[in-house]
């Protein structure tokens, strides 16, 4: 028992916290510079289930086709992409239950199909959008 009677000198115990903020800010800067905001963005779509295809009467379809050259046909008419929303809107005013069908040829560039999908999506009334493909040989999807 060595310390009986001996007066202890109480040393002030201190943790130096002055540099704490520096350390923390260093870490922040590290995280800020290494973070790549993975901004996921795109066009959402829900696919139909296989085998659950609903037969839709041809009259109820708004047909938009994209051919291999990237030309867009609304029904049988050749149209410019920016004409699509107006035409779709007009059709949906006649019958709001119509389904927009985008038929793309398999050799058509993906970009054109997205362009059409984008135009159709800009019509808020167009809720039901369907995608389909035109095969090169078999003609019609």
């Amino acid at each position: 028992m060595p310390i009986i009677g001996k007066r202890e000198r109480v040393e002030e115990v201190e943790i130096p916290t002055a540099s704490m903020a520096d350390i923390a800010f260093l870490l922040i800067i590290f995280f800020m510079t290494t973070t790549v905001f993975a901004r996921d963005k795109g066009l959402k779509l829900v696919l139909p289930e296989k085998g659950q295809e609903v037969k839709v009467a041809s009259k109820k379809l708004i047909k938009i086709a994209v051919n291999p050259a990237g030309e867009i046909y609304f029904g049988d008419e050749l149209v410019q992409p920016n004409q699509i929303p107006e035409r779709v809107k007009r059709k949906l005013q006649e019958d709001p239950k119509m389904v927009v069908l985008i038929r793309t040829h398999e050799n058509a560039p993906y970009e054109r199909m997205i362009e059409v999908l984008d135009q159709v999506k800009s019509v808020p009334e167009a809720k039901r959008i369907s995608l389909s493909i035109i095969r090169a040989e078999t003609q019609g999807g």
Partner: protein, 137 residues
């Protein structure tokens, strides 16, 4: 003009709470950071005006299709058949998985359609076509 003897008040900035603020920020950044799992393929995304931000970054699984029609899932080059298998497994692990299709804008639609078919077979119905906001000007 008479100059009054100014009493100089001691100017101090309280720095004691500085580290608290800093650590709070660190924790925020650590929690919001989603590390990208794969390097993917180099693609030029198509542009679309109706592009939406997708909030649930953690539930997203990417499929890359580059302009040479190679398909990549989890950094492996695969066929549409494998896409189906991969997504069946992914959906089992996390049923709220969202398939994000990062296809190059020059790719033929036929390839995209094959992948879409594979996703339907795997019952991954909720998909996202990755697009960019159109550049202004």
């Amino acid at each position: 003009m008479r100059i009054k003897a100014k009493r100089k008040p001691k100017a101090t900035i309280p720095t004691a709470s500085m580290s608290d603020i800093a650590f709070l920020l660190i924790i925020f950044f650590m929690l919001t950071t989603v590390f990208r799992k794969e390097t993917g393929l180099k693609v030029v995304l198509p542009q679309a005006r109706m592009t939406e931000r997708i909030r649930k970054s953690r539930d997203i699984a990417n499929i890359y299709i580059d302009k040479d029609e190679r398909i990549s899932v989890d950094d492996k080059l695969v066929t549409p058949e494998h896409v189906k298998m991969a997504f069946k497994i992914k959906l089992k692990e996390n049923p709220s998985v969202l398939a994000q299709l990062k296809a190059d804008k020059r790719v033929r639609y036929g390839v995209v359609n094959d992948v879409l078919d594979a996703l339907r077979d795997a019952r991954a119905f909720r998909i996202i076509f990755a697009t960019e906001y159109p550049r202004k000007g």
